[in-house]
Symmetry: C2
Subunit: 514 residues, 2 copies
């Protein structure tokens, strides 16, 4: 048995059952080892941003890490943006980065790079395998690291000789320790803050945004009068009928400041204090008022749901009825397309147990509040601000949640970073419906441009912020990647197209002229 074979067996024993891959020559022994284990599902991405974004989507839905297979420093670089997003989501992920054989490194061959330096900024754990004998143990440590806390990014650098050399066999992967809860003193102190009512915000993230956490937070809010809110960008939120609604932090700084203006206390459970996405010349970075006290009750190492359960008990909220969405889909809007109508149509058409991947950026700001009364679904967001996550995340989510329909709400500018994911959707026969909001611009930047005082942009600014010369033809793009597509220009056509997408198996793309 060689190192690569022991590594694959270690992964399988540790619950890593999918490998999103874009291999190269230095990874051939690992590919050969994967080939001997058909129970490891290998999914090819045409670009590494597909590979890493799909691993994130898989982890968000399957609640366990996938492996990725990347080719030296440039392959890791290609996948870096979506590893960054996954890290900000605290998605578990085990990256295997192929590397030159150790003896070859000194020769500075063309692909030689400082992989550690590229990996560290987007990884919680980085290790270079020292050799084939210990490789399985390195792999076990990587899986263990990825499964720690809320989830973490583990990056294992795999020199080719560690893959091809001899191994004593796979290594066991220890079960991750149970995530702790805060001390009862901390719980009771937080409970007293929450009892102050509406001037206290219970700010929840991570797994607290699943059904049970939302219910508990809703009970606490209903009992104490404290407001319950979530970050702007979240890994996964349980939504729709039967779930407790949640308000997210607004993106626009002035609107967010207004939202938090009355806050005097904030209790954090599975979330960090909200801050502005970007810094601006005359705006604060903090979104909370200066006199708002922040209590970090449970960071990402803690169990947020159990923390909320203890908080509910301490606030005497157990048994209280939390706010709960009822199923009340609106009528399907007709006529010309606008954002409000799309929001309503989504509320009407989201199928039961759908997975929504939301990279709709400017077009989609109304979608979230409008869909509370839809059928039960999960909502996945771009967490690290690195655009181009949507198609890959939808791809991985579909693999991590078989039998559920995935709707990718996709801004066009962002989607063009990673449209190659459509091909993987076609190859794997995934039930992903991509709705492209084709406004043919980086609309968010046009807004930011006017913020910096440019009212009549010239050719250079227009060239850098618009995508309409030429217009991208998404239907042809999808066809090129093997995905059927259609273009719609009114609400009736959009509803019909979504219906067609939902009715069939496999991927579908709808370009929506905005």
């Amino acid at each position: 048995m060689n190192g690569a074979q022991a590594l694959v067996d270690t992964f399988l024993a540790g619950g890593v059952e999918v490998c999103f891959a874009n291999p190269g020559t230095s990874e051939m022994h690992f590919v050969a080892a994967l080939d001997q284990r058909p129970d490891m599902r290998c999914v090819l991405g045409l670009h590494e941003t597909v590979v890493t974004g799909a691993a994130d989507g898989y982890a968000r839905m399957a609640d366990k890490p996938a492996a990725t297979l990347l080719h030296l420093g440039p392959g890791l670089g290609n996948g870096l943006a979506n590893i960054h997003n996954a890290r900000r989501a605290r998605s578990p992920m085990v990256n295997v980065v192929g590397e030159h054989a150790s003896a070859h490194l000194a020769h500075n061959a063309p692909l030689t790079t400082d992989i550690e330096s590229i990996a560290r900024p987007v990884s919680d754990w980085v290790r270079r395998a020292a050799g084939s004998e210990a490789l399985a143990r390195d792999g076990a440590a990587a899986v263990q690291a990825a499964r720690s806390g809320a989830g973490a990014i583990a990056t294992l650098i795999l020199p080719a000789d560690a893959a091809w050399g001899p191994s004593p066999g796979p290594a066991p992967v220890p079960e991750p320790p149970a995530r702790p809860v805060p001390s009862m003193a901390a719980i009771e102190a937080a409970a007293r803050l929450l009892a102050e009512g509406a001037s206290t915000i219970l700010f929840i993230g991570d797994a607290a945004l699943r059904e049970e956490g939302l219910r508990l937070a809703g009970q606490i809010g209903a009992k104490t009068g404290a407001r319950v809110m979530a970050p702007l960008s979240n890994k996964r939120i349980a939504r729709g009928a039967g779930r407790t609604p949640i308000t997210r932090t607004p993106y626009v700084v002035d609107i967010a400041l207004a939202h938090f203006a009355d806050a005097r206390r904030m209790v954090l459970v599975g979330a960090r204090e909200p801050v502005a996405f970007f810094g601006y010349p005359d705006k604060p970075s903090r979104l909370l008022p200066p006199d708002c006290a922040v209590t970090p009750l449970a960071d990402a190492s803690f169990d947020p749901v159990e923390t909320l359960r203890l908080l509910a008990e301490a606030t005497d909220a157990t048994g209280v009825q939390p706010p709960t969405n009822r199923y009340d889909p609106p009528a399907r809007p007709v006529g010309a397309i606008d954002q409000d109508k799309i929001a309503a149509l989504l509320a009407a058409m989201i199928p039961d147990q759908a997975v929504i991947v939301d990279e709709s950026i400017t077009t989609g700001r109304l979608f979230f509040p409008a869909t509370d009364k839809a059928a039960p679904h999960d909502w996945l967001q771009i967490t690290g601000g690195a655009i181009g996550i949507g198609p890959p995340l939808a791809t991985g989510a579909a693999i991590g949640a078989p039998g559920r329909k995935v709707l990718n709400l996709q801004a066009d500018g962002s989607g063009l970073y990673s449209a190659q994911a459509l091909w993987t959707q076609a190859r794997e026969g995934l039930d992903v419906i991509t709705l492209v909001f084709a406004n043919h611009s980086y609309a968010i930047l046009q807004g930011e441009m006017s913020q910096v005082g440019v009212r009549n942009p010239g050719r250079n600014a227009l060239d850098m912020l618009s995508l309409d010369r030429p217009r991208v033809d998404w239907v042809s793009l999808a066809k090129g990647f093997g995905v059927p597509g259609e273009r719609v220009g009114d609400m009736e056509a959009l509803a019909a197209a979504i219906g067609r997408g939902l009715a069939k198996d496999g991927p579908h793309l709808i370009e929506i002229e905005m």
Copy 2:
């Protein structure tokens, strides 16, 4: 005047006249400054790998750096692979990486990353602007660094407040110092080695592969009997009628070893000692025999052409007739498509002063030797082994060499990393003809797979090495990005399609069924 305006003016004064860009919010003041200077040509890429690969192509043809504009660590990560390639080519490049305002960094907003850590492995020079007052001087230092020696990668990290704060104005960019030549003692010692004849190899790279350097090296070889060779992968080679032919180092290790088996001495001018691309269990990393002495006469800081001129004088080769290609295009092959016939067709149809961008990988191994007798042209290669350079490099080369036709010889697997470059070709109306060799596989990896002993690959290996389920439809892909395309299945159709592409203005794509 703010820092961003002073930076743009500094770039323009330093000869940086093109900015390949994919901006975000933190770069809006820089975008506004670019907008005020219409003499700075701003070229948008839909993905940062297009941005950085295009900057490389521009630099190779224009012999000066372009700027890139990238959005924080993830934007730099997206562009990393082609910066790596550019660095291996020693192409000059000035990367401007937008960054959060300094005061915002402490808040760990979603896009916060350790940009320096990502930048260093692919940069020769990295600096974080300390503030707006000194920003123009930082920009001048970046341009100076990029123009040093054979060319270098300079990465300037630009916090938003350094862009928006006040500046005293632009800074002067010093002319780069003349590149030195070796001492006469070193030249004469090398001349004695070359006089040993065919057991000595004069190994030349960088600017020595332009017309004049090749002529000088050819004279030296003709006079001394020493063999003249080049690295496997090169920035730019002058080729075709009237130029001196050059033999490149083979990719396959065993073939390369055979090529160098008789070498006892190697003199390096603008090149490093040839090594294997990858390490293998039972093959050496060095390609030269153990007893071959290597003389590093002129590294990348030296002037390779002047070094060859001195060597020619020292070997008494001045005035000797070097080997020279005559124009002798073959007849256009007909019938079924194969690699030999494509090579011959290229030799017949490459137009005068064409720029060839070669990322043809396995399909194209015969193209280089077959095109010596074509019309004069330049040949650009993938230098760092990070695939996905072709379409971006062709895009930048067309901007750096206006009036010349660009032929992008493109392997399909590699081209799918960066097909977004087609859109920039359409927007800018660039004369790029992309020939896609559609073998629907990572053919090079299928060869490597059999090298590691896998003779009957199973589903996992097949899935990771083949691209034929589904087949990518390149004509639709090109249409999606606004580029006219056609698919050809025999040599007559291919010749007609190339003819159509050459006859018109603007980009054209030809998918060649292999």
